[in-house]
């Protein structure tokens, strides 16, 4: 049976995307897309899923044992919810400018493809969705981005495609090895544990790590990210940082670690080094940036490092915290990109030194920016701290030196975020300041930011709601 709520979850936005295109008028398509994204958010939130594959679908086999197979556990559900939620935020935030129908449709296609990635339980299907995600994002950057958009779009596409190809090679090798061992062609994610041994296992794990690592992105495979973020429109950056980067960590959680539980544990020092470098290197690079969007982009590299720390620690609290940090980063960075987008929309500038003394003129913008910056640098009581602390608590148990690097990253976060905040909102205006063009938030923008910031506060004080959904799905990976 193919038609199930899970099918609707990914197909609804895709069908909606075609309908939006058919509407032709940008205005009508915009209203329609927002309504549809709200429906899919409500649908995702109300989905009666249960731990243990209550809604799982498996279609008939195609060639080589490829199935249309979807399933949902707590991990999938929170990722889908994040995706649906940020799509609403991204679309509503785009209402400020005239956009064509294609723009709205691209976001709906993106949402549908991302849902597919998080739902697929068949490796082939997973790969297809994984690649389909690239297409709408390629157009979002390349068509609706800023000055240097074409270069950034091509760089983004080639870079991530290179990673995907390595991932595909890894998947093909796994499926072939299973066929050799059992005589059955199957692309099911389950039951691949132990089919690869020795050097083959090492090679496949390395291919998967690079494949997922480009998406995370792990240093040194990260240089597509600052360019893509800088050139993408604000809504594109929200989706890119908020959801797409999470595909990489999701890949580790869903595929690389479950298939290679022992190998990934033996490689802990190396994986930990990757995560630690992400945190420290990302923070230092962020400190050097003079463009707000690049700064937030590099801070994403550092934040995703915390997710990896938690996931690689393979402790119950680390896995749950690392996964929660995916959600947290989506909210916080989403809010930051939204506000940088608002600044850009009003002044056509993004440089930290292009502004100054915005406080008196745009108090609400300052309020929400302060709030989000504090969440981003891990102020306890807000969401960022919970994810970071749980990830690092896991690390402290298995590899204390990793916790040291992580806490150093928390310290550095303040060093890159606050000076930029101060220059923009407190500092003096230089001769070329464009602050006078920046008007305060409209009601629509305030509403979006209230939702995001209250979400940050809620997760910061009461994370146990989300954690009780995440933990059952991730604790199986704990050692």
């Amino acid at each position: 049976m193919i038609f199930s709520p899970l099918t609707i979850l990914w197909a609804l936005p895709i069908v909606g995307g075609f309908l939006a295109l058919a509407l032709r008028s940008g205005k009508r398509a915009g209203v329609f897309s927002i309504a549809l994204s709200l429906i899919s958010l409500a649908f995702c939130a109300l989905l009666p899923w249960r731990e243990g594959a209550a809604l799982a679908v498996t279609g008939p086999a195609w060639a080589y044992g490829i199935h249309y197979a979807l399933s949902m556990d707590g991990l999938s559900w929170v990722m889908c919810l994040l995706n649906a939620f940020l799509t609403v935020i991204a679309l509503v935030s785009s209402l400020g400018e005239e956009r064509s129908a294609g723009y709205w449709a691209a976001f709906l296609f993106l949402e549908g493809a991302l849902m597919g990635v998080f739902l697929a339980s068949d490796l082939f299907l997973f790969y297809v969705f994984w690649e389909v995600v690239l297409i709408p994002m390629f157009f979002i950057i390349g068509l609706w981005g800023s000055a240097n958009r074409k270069h950034a779009a091509v760089k983004f596409f080639l870079f991530t495609f290179f990673g995907s190809v390595l991932m595909l090679l890894g998947i093909l090798a796994l499926v072939t090895l299973r066929h050799r061992a059992t005589g059955v062609w199957s692309w099911d994610m389950q039951g691949l544990q132990g089919v690869a041994t020795g050097p083959a296992a090492w090679a496949i794990f390395a291919a998967l790590t690079v494949g997922f690592g480009v998406k995370v992105p792990i240093v040194p495979l990260h240089t597509w990210l600052p360019d893509a973020h800088t050139e993408a429109p604000a809504a594109g950056s929200i989706m890119l940082a908020g959801v797409m980067l999470k595909m990489g960590v999701y890949g580790f959680l869903r595929i690389a670690i479950p298939i290679f539980p022992h190998l990934s544990w033996r490689l802990l020092p190396w994986l930990a080094a990757i995560a630690a470098i992400n945190i420290i290197y990302g923070a230092f690079c962020a400190l050097a940036q003079s463009d707000l969007k690049r700064l937030v982009a590099y801070s994403s590299i550092a934040h995703l490092g915390f997710c990896l720390v938690g996931v690689f620690s393979r402790t119950v609290e680390g896995l749950a915290g690392g996964t929660l940090q995916l959600i947290n980063h989506g909210l916080t960075t989403g809010a930051l990109f939204l506000m940088v987008g608002i600044l850009y929309e009003r002044s056509h500038k993004r440089g930290i030194r292009d502004f100054g003394a915005l406080f008196g003129q745009a108090p609400w913008l300052t309020f929400f920016f302060s709030f989000s910056i504090m969440a981003s640098i891990g102020l306890p009581g807000l969401n960022g701290f919970v994810g970071e602390f749980m990830s690092l608590a896991g690390a402290a148990r298995v590899l204390p030196i990793l916790a040291v690097a992580g806490v150093a990253g928390v310290t550095l976060a303040a060093a890159y975020a606050l000076p930029a905040y101060q220059l923009v909102f407190w500092g003096d205006r230089g001769p070329s300041s464009v602050s006078s063009h920046v008007t305060d938030l409209t009601v629509r923008e305030q509403a979006l930011l209230w939702v995001l910031c209250l979400g940050m506060l809620y997760i910061g004080l009461h994370p146990s709601g989300l954690l009780s959904v995440i933990t059952p799905a991730t604790k199986g990976l704990a050692l």
Binding site: F284, L287, V316, V407, Q422
Partner: protein, 626 residues
């Protein structure tokens, strides 16, 4: 798990939270000038509740409850809880009462500032954070409020954000505190791995210290001390505090007297059951405290800005508290924390009155002089607090400061010598300030006639709180015995803390030193009225040494520059200039390689046949020989 909480324990949180929400959402949009009213009501409620809590703990013993789950993953969990024992309720009572009176003062001080609503919201958050910090029952919750204190202080120090110095000071305060927080967060993480299942609760951690891995406990102890050196302004991380004077004066008063800086001392007292067992750590704390107290005491005597003199004085007195804690005299250290809260609040508020009287945010000794006639109330309050600070009987400071310095004398001759010097310097710098401000005016002073502006005495809003806190600066020292009984309630180390009772006749050496300091300052400020200006002009090199805190400030500035230089190298040269360029060049390389390949496609059949022949030959060789 949830026990029935006494009403006052609920109110110390419910009142500030609801006051902030009501002020922000209901009062501020409609009547911005009334924003402080809900907050002042909350202050009254909190002050009364805190005193009631202290009385309750004194009579019926401590209370420790876990209230709600915070983070949970499987069997790993952290929770929110409340611990009201002797230590927390004693400090809480002081913080609540002094803090509330400073709020009243601020209502007068900030009356004319158009950003008054923002000021009160952050001010009250600051107060709330400190209350939460004192009453937490586990380390991670304590860390939450510890950071919240830092956050609120950031916005308050940078309150006048149009001033570059205020922005810089706010940033420095936050970042230096973050460097200290590195120690706290890491300590909390290590605690959770060294004491699994404890949830970092004090009652679960301290009894298990002996059974935990010694190396981890040792690391935790040192890291907690590192955290305390930032918040409580000890060497090497003290230097943010004097610059934090850039905020409005009530902020300085609240930060120096009641909140924030006492947090580090409180943390060490709280963690004493753990710290006491770590090799060499208590002595390290004592020596760092002593060095900080002496160094800051000397620098305080060379400053001319009124608030800066007091700021270095705070650093010095925090050093005295750390010295007390390090010597194991927790009772004396906490006693001094409490008395210091009163007299330092008075001193700051008097400095604020003087600056406010001059119509300026801050004043220097050059603008003051001879204010005894123009500001008699301020003079009386300042004098009382100065006597208390100098440790003169029967003022509050005598009982607490001399208790600590006495312990230092008992520790050894070296420490005793340093303690004597600290006692002398304290009296010297505070009496120098007293004489320079209120006696005179001297030839180099304006005598409160700055720019044609006549100085005036403070109004009721700013006068009465100072007067009330002054009463505390006189009397609080008389209740050492009660404090000792209170502290023993719920004390978690083996030996209950003692508060030594100082007797005036036995303490004559330290009293003599204090009087000597006062006399010396009278000589160099009043008998020789120009000396304070002359030495600076005659030996600028020496003045520079003091101005740079014996060279420590430039060293720290160099560290900050090194971090920026490293980040520029990594983020601009390496990441963008080298690595990204290499990657982009590889794409160009691929295009060029494609072009080179295209050159082979000549279109001539003859060439292709040769290539084909070569390929067949290679294949044949491979088949034959492999």
């Amino acid at each position: 798990m949830t026990a029935v909480l006494p009403l006052s324990a609920i109110l110390i949180f419910a009142a500030p939270i609801s006051a902030v929400l009501i002020s922000f959402f209901l009062v501020r949009p409609f009547k911005p000038r009334w924003t402080h009213w809900p907050i002042l009501i909350s202050c009254a409620v909190v002050a009364v509740s805190a005193v009631r809590i202290a009385m309750r703990v004194y009579t019926t013993g401590p209370l420790d409850v876990t209230l709600a789950q915070w983070m949970v993953a499987g069997s790993w969990s952290l929770s929110f809880g409340l611990r009201l024992d002797g230590l927390s309720s004693a400090v809480l009572a002081m913080v609540a009462v002094v803090g509330a009176l400073i709020h009243v003062y601020a209502a007068g001080y900030m009356e004319e500032d158009e950003c008054m609503p923002r000021f009160f919201l952050f001010f009250h958050l600051f107060y709330l954070a400190m209350i939460g910090l004192l009453t937490s029952n586990n380390y991670v919750q304590l860390y939450l409020f510890w950071e919240m204190v830092g956050m609120a202080s950031y916005y308050l120090i940078g309150f006048w954000y149009h001033k570059a110095t205020a922005r810089r000071a706010a940033m420095q305060a936050f970042l230096v505190n973050r460097v200290g927080d590195f120690g706290f967060m890491l300590a909390a993480l290590l605690l959770l791995s060294a004491f699994p299942g404890s949830g970092a609760r004090f009652t679960a951690v301290f009894p298990a210290v002996a059974k935990a891995p010694p190396a981890l406990v040792c690391a935790i102890g040192y890291l907690l001390f590192w955290a305390a050196t930032a918040k409580s302004a000890q060497f090497p991380l003290y230097f943010w505090l004097p610059d934090a004077m850039e905020g409005p004066t009530p902020v300085s008063a609240l930060m120096h007297a009641a909140t924030m800086v006492t947090a580090g001392i409180f943390l060490m007292a709280r963690s004493w059951p753990l710290i006491a067992g770590v090799p060499h750590l208590p002595h390290l704390i004592a020596w760092v405290g002593a060095a900080t107290a002496l160094g800051a005491g000397i620098v305080a005597a060379t400053k001319t800005d009124l608030k800066r003199i007091l700021a270095y004085s705070t650093v010095s007195h925090l050093g005295i508290m750390a010295l007390g804690v390090g010597l194991g005299e927790i009772g004396a250290g906490i006693f001094h924390l409490i008395t210091h809260g009163f007299f330092k609040a008075v001193l700051f508020l008097c400095a604020g009155n003087i600056a406010h009287g001059l119509g300026k945010p801050t004043a220097t000794v050059d603008e003051a002089g001879g204010l005894i006639k123009k500001m008699p109330l301020t003079f009386v309050c300042f004098t009382v607090a100065a006597f208390s600070l100098a440790g003169i009987w029967p003022f509050a400071g005598f009982y607490s400061k001399d208790a600590v310095l006495d312990a230092a004398h008992a520790f050894g001759p070296g420490m005793g010598l340093v303690a004597s010097a600290i006692g002398f310097m304290s009296a010297f710098y505070i009496f120098r300030m007293l004489f320079l401000v209120f006696l005179g005016p001297r030839p180099r002073q304006e005598g409160g006639e700055h720019g044609g502006h006549h100085i005036h005495e403070a109004g009721l809003w700013m006068g009465i709180p100072v007067l009330l806190i002054s009463i505390g600066a006189v009397c609080v020292g008389w209740f050492g015995g009660q404090l000792q009984s209170l502290l023993s309630m719920g004390w978690m180390a083996a030996a209950a803390p003692t508060v030594p009772h100082m007797k005036v006749l036995e303490a004559w050496p330290s009293l003599a030193l204090a009087f000597a300091g006062a006399a010396a300052s009278y000589w160099w400020t009043t008998i020789k009225p120009n000396w304070d200006w002359d030495w600076r002009e005659k030996s600028p090199a020496l003045a520079a040494v003091f101005a740079s805190d014996f060279g420590w400030k430039p060293a720290m500035a160099w560290v900050a520059q090194a971090v920026v230089a490293l980040s520029n190298w990594l983020g601009l040269s390496l990441d963008k200039g080298s690595w990204d360029r290499l990657i982009e060049a590889s794409a160009e390389g691929a295009v060029e390689a494609g072009g080179a390949g295209a050159a082979l496609a000549t279109g001539s059949v003859n060439d292709y046949v040769w290539w084909m022949a070569a390929g067949v030959a290679v294949l044949l060789l491979a088949v034959l020989f492999l």
